[in-house]
Every structure is written in structure tokens, then in C-alpha cells.
Subunit: 137 residues, 4 copies
Amino acid sequence: MTTVASMLRTYPSDLGRVDREAMTRCIEECMTCAQTCTACADACMSEHDDMLPMLRKCIRSCVDCADVCDTTGRVLSRHTGYDANITRAVLQACATVCRSCADECNQHANRHEHCRICAEACSACEQACQDLLMSLG
Amino acid sequence: MTTVASMLRTYPSDLGRVDREAMTRCIEECMTCAQTCTACADACMSEHDDMLPMLRKCIRSCVDCADVCDTTGRVLSRHTGYDANITRAVLQACATVCRSCADECNQHANRHEHCRICAEACSACEQACQDLLMSLG
Amino acid sequence: MTTVASMLRTYPSDLGRVDREAMTRCIEECMTCAQTCTACADACMSEHDDMLPMLRKCIRSCVDCADVCDTTGRVLSRHTGYDANITRAVLQACATVCRSCADECNQHANRHEHCRICAEACSACEQACQDLLMSLG
Amino acid sequence: MTTVASMLRTYPSDLGRVDREAMTRCIEECMTCAQTCTACADACMSEHDDMLPMLRKCIRSCVDCADVCDTTGRVLSRHTGYDANITRAVLQACATVCRSCADECNQHANRHEHCRICAEACSACEQACQDLLMSLG
């Protein structure tokens, strides 16, 4: 069991009707996507001088996506005083930002392996957000 | 002029048709709200033992709101490779979370001065997000 | 291979004489520790009313540790424009904060399983920071 | 009075022998420096194509400094369950990172106004961290 699942299991109070698998997966995808986006923005920055200009938008999308996934993973890691409005708003924003970043990274995936991996992480995170949103009803 | 406005003024490229005043104010309100929410959650934690249980939800709303405002202020501080989908998604989430947190803090405003100040900061930030969203068209 | 290792492998420029295993493990431990601390602070918040007062310091240590590990994981995920002074300063702070948080969580480990798991994550992260610091020379 | 000072004034418990002015100023400088560094990294990204390569290290220092100042401002905004080891470790790291970032930005200050403003924000933040460290004894 991952640490995310262990912490969910040891939560001392009632978790309500939350789908624990969808929740666990979404937190893990947010963590992975945040780190991958931070690393991809940095990898883009180290590409050859003449490639930097065309990677500007990709770097921007990646740093935004890292911040949003980080915050989403934090919000989802809290269960006390649950407010469905907050959770839904954050998940919707995260899904949108992940989709934008996946689209951008995919345009560079053939040329840069780090962009290919990052686009996959973003798509997986978008899907996990959508699945969790669906399970919330 | 504040530093936020100075940095916007020295941005070396085209900012498009952005409303600079609305943008500056929104970044500043996000920064203020993030810090105020972090401090309010902590102030709640130091209240008398018998008050702690009824402040659980307020503490939760404040830490979530701090994270979301922090991320929103970061996203808005970037202009290179602008993606309207990302900006709008983040602003909408931030407005929603600020409204929830303002509602929660307002319920404790008569008893706790830090909650009164925090509710005001959340409301001001929600308004600034709505104004900036409107100006984006 | 984890995503952290994949992103390190696809970094397009020279990584210098960095110990890739120590680097990968330290980033992963920072991510795990940040999430575990966020979840532990929240789990403490949901404990019985009469336990809340004695968990104040633990909650505080956990939220601080989550922030510091988050930032450390981000700094370590970047390699472009490496500055040894920055990396060392951040790793030293992270090791210190993880040790403090582990000590605090350990005092509640017998009573609260989430504190036991969190203390382990903090200790593992402290060790990973020390190992990486050592490998940097 | 700024909101930072108001929140410190309404803290419901004992703040100990903390120098309130040094604390308030340090939190404010951390907030300003974090936002300025985020904006400076982004402004660097929008400079002319042929300038991008020589700004790599500056962008890197700025994003690291933004993360560290953000975390430092959060840690300093909390007073409950105070742990001097944590506060000192974070302040020392922040002072070091701010000095590195100020040095780097200063090398581009003649050419880029945003780097000049950012170097000033970093130096002011470093000083505020040193002053607060001194006052802690």
C-alpha cells in the first residue's frame, strides 16, 4: 500500500461516501504531475539555445500546472471540515489546467522525451480528477 | 507604486488587452488573502481548548483558501505564453473557495477578530477575482 | 522506474557529478513526506475533542514540514543553472525541520497510527536529505 | 496598519518575546520577494530570443527563491506550537537563497529593469531574515 492509501486508512473520523480508490489515485496523480511538470519546465530550460523560444509556452504551462496540481493534492489530502464546493472547484480547475498542459506538451513530444512523459502525466491527472469529480456526484 | 505594479510595468513584452489595474489588484488581494488565511488558521489553533472543536471547519477552509490564493497569485504573476483557459479556470476556483471561506469565517467574526479580518480579506479577494474574470471577457 | 527517475534520465543537459540515486530518492521522500504531513495535520484535526489541545504542536510541525518538503522537492527537481549554495541551504533546512517533526509525531505514535506513519516518513526524508548533502561533498 | 500586522495583533495567545516589528517586516518582505521573483522569472522568459540563454541561471534562481520565500512567509505566519529550530532553519535557508538570487539578478540589472527591482526585493528580504534571526537570539 502506498503512503497516500495508508494515511487515508488511518484517518480517525468518518470519510463519508467518498470513493477511496478514486481519491487515492487522484492524490497520487496530482503529486506525480506536479513533480513531472516542475522537472519538464526545467528540462525545457536546458534545451539548445535555438529551441528555447519555441518552448516558452510549454514552460509556462508546466509551471502553472505544477502549482495547480500541488494545491489540488493538498486540498484532497484534507478531509476534516469537508466542503464539496471547494473540492469541486479545485478539481475542475485542475482538470482544465492539466488538459491545457497535456495539449502543449504533446506538441513537443516527438522531439523531447521529457515532454512526452509530462503529457502522459498531465493526461493521467486530468482523468483522475474527472473520475473523482464523477464519483462525488 | 507597489512592487506588483512595478513588475507589471517592466514586463518586456506585450501584455495584450489585460486590465492592468484589475490584474494588479487581484494579485495583491491573492497575496493578502493567502497570508491572512494562513494566520487565521493558526490563530484559531491557539484559541481556548473548548473552542477548538467548533473551529475545525474554519481552520480547514482557511488552509485550503491559503493554498488556492497562493497558486492563483502565482499564475496571475506570469504573462508569457498566456493561456486564457488556465487563467479563467484558476480564477473561477479561487472566487469559489474565497466565498466559502468568507462564509465560514463570518460565522465566527463576532467572537474572533482574526476571523472578521480574514472574512474581509476573502471577500475582497473573491471580488477581485470576479472583476478580473469580467475584464477578460 | 518511477516518474522522478524517468524525468532525471531524460534531462537534456549535463547533470554534473550528482549521485542520481540519492537525488531521486530525496525527491521522492520529499514528495511522500509533504503529503503525509498534510494528511497527518488533518487527521490530528479530526481526533476527539479532548485530544485536540495536546495535538496543537504536532499539527503545527506537520504543516511547516509539509511546506518545507514541498519546496525542497521542487528545488531538487530543477537542475538548470545549478547553485550549490541554494541546494545545500534548502537541504539543511529540510533535514532540520523533518527531524523536529519526526520527534513531535513520535510522541503521539503509540496513540495515533497516522502520527506513527508520519514520523517514519519524516525520518526517511531527513535521512535522504543528509545522504544527498553528503554526496554533494 | 497592514493586514500582516493586524493578524499578528489579533493572535489570541502569547507570542513570547518576539520582536513584532521584525516579524511583520520579514513576513511582508517574504511575500513581496516571492511575487517579485515569480514575475521576474516570467519577465526573463519573455525577453528577446537571443537573450534567453544567458538568463537561464537567473530564471532558475528566481523560481527557487520564490518557492523558498513563499514557504518562509507561511512558517513565520504561524505562532502556535512554536519551534525555534524550525524557524531558525527556515530563516537561514531563506537568507542564503535571497543572497544568491540578488547576486544573480544584479548581474542583469543594468539591462533589465525587472532584474534590478527583483535584486532589491531579494536584498531587502535577506536583510529582514537576518534581522529577525538576530532578534530571536
